[in-house]
């Protein structure tokens, strides 16, 4: 029952940030019940490899995270140590944010793993959108019970994405804004993630700069480079 048009639009939205390689400068604001923090970071990605380097605030500057496949290493400048996370800890929220590293760089498999149905067309929060409900295909190994994606009719950019558990309860929601041309693509540069059962917590990611399909040497994603 997949309709080709929905497939195409969702696929486009899912591939917005994906490319062979990318370099991005990102501002992240993490709020929880204890207050908020602002981080600036640079993110390199090449295939399955990701390198994140924190530039600020001062006390975190130099902290670097390398992800190769399922393995994650942290470089901690304060102690000048590189620490490999046990695999059991790689799924924990990243830098206290509601995002995972994968959320920022990994190519999404929405069209591969989910069946897509158009569930609504019209105005949501004053914006004309197409709303698609994505349910996992029987053979897909995914964590979500369903995903609802709203795409702006005007520029076919994502506006809102809700992640639901198996019981149909909203777990987290991602809101998109500030659509800009960056790295020769039109992308939403302002992303806000909220976790449903933690009302005080939200993470805002703002892309300051991103370039796609730029040449990056494989040595960028090596442990020696982590400590630079």
């Amino acid at each position: 029952m997949d309709d080709p048009r929905a497939q195409e639009i969702v696929g486009q939205a899912a591939r917005l940030f994906s490319s062979n390689s990318s370099i991005a400068t990102v501002k992240m604001q993490v709020s929880n019940e204890d207050g908020q923090r602002n981080l600036t970071m640079k993110i390199w990605s090449l295939g399955e490899k990701v390198l994140v380097r924190i530039d600020g605030p001062q006390d975190q500057a130099g902290t670097a995270i390398l992800k190769v496949g399922r393995d994650i290493w942290y470089y901690l400048p304060k102690t000048r140590r590189t620490v490999k996370l046990p695999t059991s800890m790689t799924m924990t929220p990243w830098m206290g944010s509601a995002f995972t590293i994968d959320d920022l760089v990994k190519e999404s498999f929405l069209t591969r793993d989910y069946s897509i149905a158009t569930s609504f067309e019209g105005k949501r929060r004053g914006v004309a959108v197409y709303e698609y409900t994505l349910t996992p295909k029987p053979e897909a190994v995914v964590v979500w019970g369903k995903i609802v994606l709203q795409i702006r009719q005007v520029n076919q950019m994502p506006a809102w994405q809700g992640y639901y558990d198996e019981d149909g309860k909203l777990v987290r929601e991602l809101t998109f804004a500030d659509y800009k041309k960056m790295g020769a693509r039109l992308i939403p540069t302002h992303l806000v993630m909220r976790v449903a059962d933690k009302p005080g917590e939200q993470t805002t990611v703002v892309y300051e700069d991103i370039s796609f399909d730029v040449p990056i040497g494989a040595e960028t994603f090596s442990l020696p480079n982590l400590t630079q």
Binding site: N32, D34, G35, T79, R81, V83, P86, G96
Partner: protein
């Protein structure tokens, strides 16, 4: 029951001293054994509660409302609301039943030795206060306990130390998600290694000073997760918890819990242990019934002629029943006195010297998940001793009733002809 009857019963008992002695010995030894078992079981219960509360838990804990059981690191006492943790500690310490109290901070994180990592629980305590509440400081097998003078020193369990391959003096990195979500990390050195015999502690606890952990977790100095309290008498725990709850509830709002609420499985175990003691008592009482009934039946049948004579002389059946029961009661009473005399030194020995389980090896021995050390000490459980005594007395009377009833139905004319 008249004194005459008792006198008669007592005299009757000693007409066949050997039989009486054997029965008395059986009951007395049984009583001593019951006390012995009760004493050991009470020792096990006490040890379990001690292990459960004195190593790290403490008898009463005070938390911010909502902290327990999810232990979110942001849910601290003090901090944002400008509350005074010092005043809270003073208020707790002012209570006459409180022996000592100490503030604590908890965190979860990753310990890394350079080449190996492990997930651990971080426990921050005040080095000069915590030992008054809990006794983890007495379990140090290498190096020293924490000290206020070595803020970056940490103490780890022996199993954790071997898992990540560190020794005394090794440097480790602790990595954690701080209260504000940032990556708290710093370098520490191992100043001590403890061994408790409890896997959960030996394998996954890093003990450090409260102020260091607050720094690592990015918590302001006034923010703590818990106040641990030790009382003079652990038996007061639930009453004192309720009293503190009522007295401290105002500012800052706190939740006070005693160890039975904190570790329900521990109080379940205590209940279970009591049930087992009761079952042992019951089995012994059943055996005692058979023994006493046998003795009394023999005593009755041997004296058929004599009892028939008494009835012929005008003793009424209920008086015969009274006589036999009085004999049983006297027998039981004397046996219990003898049993107490045999048992007392045993109980004293158990409490003072303990039962040696591990021999000379000095190995830590655990029973039913309770670390008892190689010496299993008893605790005096007087209520159980009284219950055992009362139970045995009732058992003696019940088991004498059938022989007594038989005797009351003798026909005097037939009975006096029996040889």
């Amino acid at each position: 029951m008249s004194t005459q009857l008792l006198q008669l019963a007592w005299r009757n008992l000693w007409r066949n001293p050997r039989r009486t002695f054997i029965t008395m010995a059986a009951i007395a030894l049984g009583y001593a054994m019951l006390m012995f078992v009760a004493c050991l079981m009470a020792g096990l219960r006490w040890q379990m509660i001690e292990n459960g509360t004195r190593l790290v838990l403490s008898q009463i804990q005070v938390h911010a409302p909502g902290y327990y059981p999810n232990r979110s690191i942001q849910k601290t006492i003090g901090g944002q609301k400008g509350t005074d943790v010092g005043a809270l500690l003073t208020a707790i310490g002012a209570d006459s039943r409180v022996y000592a109290s100490a503030p604590r901070v908890y965190g979860y994180g990753l310990v890394n030795s350079g080449h190996r990592s492990a997930g651990v629980e971080l426990l921050g305590v005040v080095p000069h206060q915590e030992p008054k509440v809990t006794v983890l400081n007495t379990q140090i097998v290498k190096g020293n306990y924490l000290s206020d003078r070595v803020p970056m020193g940490v103490v780890v369990g022996d199993k954790l130390a071997s898992t990540i391959g560190v020794q005394l003096g090794s440097q480790i990195v602790l990595l954690t998600q701080a209260a504000d979500g940032s990556m708290g990390n710093d370098l520490y050195s191992i100043v001590g290694v403890f061994h408790t015999g409890l896997d959960a502690l030996d394998r996954s606890v890093v003990l450090m000073s409260l102020s260091s952990l607050q720094k690592l977790l990015n918590l302001a100095p006034g923010r703590i997760h818990e106040v641990g309290i030790r009382l003079d008498q652990i038996a007061d725990a639930s009453a004192e918890a309720a009293a503190l709850q009522a007295r401290l509830a105002k500012t800052p709002p706190v939740q006070v819990m005693d160890w039975e609420e904190l570790v329900p499985e521990l109080s379940d175990y205590v209940q279970f242990n009591r049930s087992i003691t009761f079952v042992l008592f019951f089995i012994f009482f059943l055996l005692a019934v058979i023994g006493i009934m046998n003795t009394m039946l023999m005593a009755v049948f041997e004296r058929t002629r004599e009892l028939g004579m008494l009835m012929a002389l005008g003793m009424r059946p209920f008086q015969v029943i009274g006589l036999i029961l009085a004999e049983a009661a006297a027998l039981a009473g004397a046996s219990l006195v003898l049993g107490a005399a045999i048992g007392a030194p045993l109980l004293w020995y158990l409490q003072v010297h303990g039962l040696d389980l591990g021999g000379a090896t000095g190995e830590v021995v655990s029973l039913a998940g309770v670390v008892v050390g190689h010496l299993w000490y008893g605790r005096q459980d007087f209520p159980a001793y009284y219950e055992a005594a009362a139970g045995l007395a009732v058992t003696a009377l019940v088991s004498a009733f059938y022989p007594a009833w038989r005797a009351a139905h003798f026909r005097p004319t037939e009975a006096i002809r029996k040889v």
